[in-house]
Amino acid sequence: MGAGHGHQLHYHGHSPVHRVPAHLKILALLGFMIVVVATPRDWYPVFGVYLLLLAAVIGMSRVPPTYLLKRTVVEVPFVLFAVLLPFVATGPRTEVLGVTVSQHGLEAGVALLIKGTLGVLASLTLAATTEPQELLLGLERLRLPQQLVQIMAFMVRYLDVVTGEMRRMKVARESRGFSARNPRHWPVLARSAGALFIRSYERGERVHLAMLSRGYTGRMPRS
């Protein structure tokens, strides 16, 4: 399994942006997002300023922009929704490239796209410049409830274990001649997902046993 530094989203570096304490970065991201979302949706030049600001931070962090752009694919479902909006919304119609669409829907779609992309890029920048462990410490310093921080810590710890298990199941399926080419194969994938869920659940039980064996009584020790 993967050796070396951090997580898939993390880009190792020593820039000023990497060095800022994690809790400040989290607050900055939160502030940025609130301002972006609160900005009226037709203030296009203002969104341009936000983008420049973000680009400046990315430039300072020395994370290659292509590295971030590749990871913006997580936004695709939102893009699809944004593209649908002009067609399904009601109200006055307007014409774009010879197609009649809803004026309202068009504006809402464009705004969704802009705000979403800004948010995703900003979040990716945070992830790329902060080790997951630092992020958790930052959240702790911001007084996020212990239980939530712990749940996230377990997620970070077991993400690789569970994806490793998922990959081995895929290899095992394909080694027996299976490939999910059409919807008739989906039930197999669904059963694999179910098996993965049960395995993860059982691992959770075993981890709990191991915790009890080392004197865990329901509260994480402060160390």
Binding site: A3, G4, Q133, A153, R157, Y158, V161, V207, S213, S223
Partner: protein, 249 residues
């Protein structure tokens, strides 16, 4: 002298009615290294889970250095009995090696410099001190197994209980772990299917089969008793003969 582990007439049935142990007697004395052998389904894991009070005896009793395993004593029992589970990914659940090794002693209320000291000493004992700030999932399997041993050593247990310590290790890691276990000044109970490993590390072996102890003697005698071995589905690896591997003790 009070035995470190004193199991007396231990019987246990799982809630679904499946009875796993039928009156187990086992005594382990200070400084001993004992192998617990037996086929799959013999009740070895069930027995181990009684030693630190995860499971509660249906009948009979378990005591650790004279302290009965019961609800009121669980914290002290779990300090005294260090269980290392088979899959290090189950044992190592924190974000860094340091936090993981500190988890046990911190649960005992140890803090500050003493905690740091314990963590580093435990890691030194398994030769992993330079990995103290790494996340566990970036270590090799053999390294994770060694850190798993350290997580328990940090609690300064009286007895170390290892579940299949050599499983999934490559031969070099397997030997390194043997060297570490030999170097520790602690009582060891080792559950294993790896009979050469038992012979190498443990002068004494106990065979558990069908929920009872069917043999208890020197590992050499157990492994060379062909009738006993055959009756309880124990087999030596191809080409391995205890008579030539090790002179009769």
């Amino acid at each position: 002298m009070t035995p470190v582990l004193d199991v007396h007439g231990l019987a246990y049935a799982y809630p679904d009615g499946h009875q796993a142990l039928f009156g187990v007697d086992l005594h382990v004395h200070r400084g001993e290294r004992v192998a617990l052998l037996g086929p799959n389904g013999a009740g070895k894991t069930t027995l181990v889970l009684h030693l630190n009070g995860i499971l509660t005896a249906g009948a009979g009793s378990v005591a650790v250095s004279g302290l009965a395993v019961e609800k009121a004593n669980l914290t002290e029992i779990r300090r005294r009995v260090g269980v290392v589970f088979q899959d290090p990914d189950d044992q190592l659940f924190m974000g860094t090696v340091r936090a993981d090794v500190a988890f046990g002693p911190a649960n005992l209320g140890i803090t500050g410099a003493e905690l740091d000291h314990r963590v580093l000493r435990a890691l030194e004992q398994v030769g992993m001190e330079e990995y103290v700030d790494r996340p566990p999932h970036h270590l090799s399997f053999g390294q994770r197994r060694r850190v798993a041993v350290a997580t328990v050593l940090a609690m300064e247990p009286e007895v170390l209980v290892l579940d299949e310590p050599s499983s999934n290790l490559d031969p070099a890691s397997r030997r390194e772990l043997a060297d570490i276990l030999r170097s520790l000044d602690v009582t060891v109970l080792m559950v294993t299917h790896d009979l050469p490993y038992a012979l190498e590390l443990c002068p004494r072996s106990v065979v558990l089969s069908g929920g009872t102890v069917v043999a208890d003697g020197t590992t050499y005698d157990v492994l060379t008793d062909e009738a006993l071995m055959k009756a309880h589905r124990l087999e030596l690896p191809f080409g391995f003969d205890p008579r030539t591997a090790m002179p009769r003790p």
